[in-house]
Symmetry: C2
Subunit: 491 residues, 2 copies
Amino acid sequence: MAKNLTPRAEDYSKWYNELVIKADLAENSGVRGCMVIKPYGYAIWERMQAELDRMFKETGHQNAYFPLFIPKSYFSKEASHVDGFAKECAVVTHYRLKNAEDGSGIVVDPEAKLEEELIVRPTSETIIWDTYRKWIQSYRDLPLLINQWANVVRWEMRTRLFLRTAEFLWQEGHTAHATKDEAVAEAEQMMNVYADFVENFMAIPVVKGTKTESERFAGALETYCIEALMQDGKALQAGTSHFLGQNFAKAFDVKFTSKEGKLDYVWATSWGVSTRLMGALVMTHSDDNGLVLPPNLAPDQLVIVPIYRNEEEFDGVDAIAKNLMKQLRSKGVRVKYDNRDTQKPGWKFNEYELKGVPLRIAIGPKDVEKGTVELARRDTFQKEFISHDKVVNTVESLLGEIQENLYKKAISHRIENTSEVTSYDEFKKVLDTKGGFILAHWDGTSATEEMVKNDTKATIRCIPLDGDTQPGTCIFTGKPSQRKVLFARAY
Amino acid sequence: MAKNLTPRAEDYSKWYNELVIKADLAENSGVRGCMVIKPYGYAIWERMQAELDRMFKETGHQNAYFPLFIPKSYFSKEASHVDGFAKECAVVTHYRLKNAEDGSGIVVDPEAKLEEELIVRPTSETIIWDTYRKWIQSYRDLPLLINQWANVVRWEMRTRLFLRTAEFLWQEGHTAHATKDEAVAEAEQMMNVYADFVENFMAIPVVKGTKTESERFAGALETYCIEALMQDGKALQAGTSHFLGQNFAKAFDVKFTSKEGKLDYVWATSWGVSTRLMGALVMTHSDDNGLVLPPNLAPDQLVIVPIYRNEEEFDGVDAIAKNLMKQLRSKGVRVKYDNRDTQKPGWKFNEYELKGVPLRIAIGPKDVEKGTVELARRDTFQKEFISHDKVVNTVESLLGEIQENLYKKAISHRIENTSEVTSYDEFKKVLDTKGGFILAHWDGTSATEEMVKNDTKATIRCIPLDGDTQPGTCIFTGKPSQRKVLFARAY
């Protein structure tokens, strides 16, 4: 077993940081708060992108691309939006450098000052709605269903790889509709698309819900979200979908003529997931030996490691390996054959364990004799010897089983770590002993939410859409509560 | 025929601008020099991306992602690089806005000034080589073959949609090698990959060659390029691949230990193509009626337009359309069935002509009776009636034929518009009468190149890798010339 990571029980945060770097997912760059996504990490992100993109297109969305820069004045047009984003943004003020007159290097050319500063997009509602004004005149132009894959920048002071970085990659959907009902249905649909993706593709169970007023997106009337629970008992927001009402349409004067010839503002949604999902992936499935990848997301689903002492042995092993690789690839299994002679088998076992490859086949001279291979699972460490003719079927069924097993493990963990409490004392005790999700009654006010947060660092993750809807009394104020809500400390 | 574009013969530049906007490819945004790539244009770009990405992976490259921002000091490390890019870059100087004290809106917060300015990447050599220093220690780490899909910013003063924009999308490959020969071979390989893609996928013939010293990438020892000829006789550089020698390795101190235990700087290449290819696509194939798309790049390869006067007629037409659509899709043909009743058939014909859909099927009540459909080609405007059972085969063979025909037309145009001249008078005469590519002898000096450029606006597009290599005398100075080079006025 690999011994190169700090165990989770010792220091979860350190374990995470080490794993992200050692498994070659990402690393810090020379630019404050900006990460480099390494090839292995990026290959996983590409698999997420491909699947999400497919799901967006299947639900009628098209991709487009809008400018990286947003003129400062655009931000001011939607009041709550500017409050939410102005405090942490990268501002472009000049468009040229020049050689310093004292020969000290290159400096900003003061003569190349922009008339109006440009903000590097932290999110694109304003630039997109400025464009939609030109695209939308009539009900025939609606619904407008657009998605963008892009980089965005939010000047976070404390950053962590994938979880919180100044620059991150994401997709942002921006849609326009003729009616309020359609826009609400779209926002709900996209929350469901995200939940489907995160649960079935990433094997991470989520709770669907709406955000409280104080946790809503800046400019939204309703924020739908999916919340996941990490191994350390902290929550992670895995995706959000916003019903924006007519706020941006009014701010950017986007009106349409209805079938009945009436002029009205259009209704909007926006929704996004980001490279933050990589953090959720790591913190849901991985263990002290390294990354554990659901087969759907694994760039390599299976690795074949040959074991041999001399050329003759290699030839026997190699022939079997190549034959199996061919058979597996023809079934669509992503196979890597690591026949490098610069590294020993033990080193390779360790490496692929660290990188979370779901299945490993080792073939040695004895296997050649017996007509078997050793097949090992990354998730359970189970090993078995199987005959060559059973490899393809076994691998195919195991990949499905691993995908399912990871989801089951994660949902068991969530069930074990979801508590219902009836008093504030109990609430604080659960928070400090086991953490996790806590369902509790809340009086519906931002004031109470704020006081609980200041006291315990726990926030309301969401008002769940499903589950117990019995009224009760707020654990903090004793006032009436409509239903229990979901609290947790969160990333 | 569509009459909504300025004819090319009247004003080629106006025709281009109108076409890009009316065919829904892109438009100008509210941000100076930055475009919005509209869904239809982006769908074509996605097809280019998918094919290039496949070709890069097939040649052993992996994708990764590096920061958008580059600290100012990184630029200064490679002297010719900073000269090439410092004069046109977006500079981030602050990281926060705040409410103005006089209530006049939001302003840059002077207290949030960065210690070191950040440049929005115009290209990523510096930030990537700063990272490679950590990734490369030994010959085992080489070759390092990485590509990045990204947005970059160059503060151009005169911009045109796709051809020259402040922000554009591209891919940039950055590779590191143990030997000079390997790096040169990689740079040449990627030029060949680009040529293969542009010729076979985009149906645009190119001339492969190397740039003269004055036209090289800032920091390169050799720039390989592919040059295409547009319909108006101007050249367009469609892709470049650079052999960077050890310049960036030395600037960022990237050394490796060889098999023999020797420490040496690594050898580098970089290579890229951008959304500029969209401009090349438009200006190579399109006509006065609109866009003409090679079937490989067309988001919709065939559109079906139903023609009917009442519901009964529609039912008959609709059944055939749906049946054909199903058959064609099962063969992998990208089919759009436009059954909207908000637009008339004539409007639709015009629309899909403007958008360059390669094939159109119209089905009316008479076709239902006769068991035929009308099939029309976008490239030649040929129409024929064919029976239902022949549709699939005919469409499949026509798509191949159109792809081929577009390439043939383009190469004929290039042959007709490539001249060889032996005197400077002849050179100027050809330039002013027909333009196009001009092969002529040149004495090999930057001084001569510069004088010709100042006098005629023609530049040396490349020193071709193939073709006539006979020595001669320079048309401008009469000095000895090693071989003819390729001149043209260029985009």
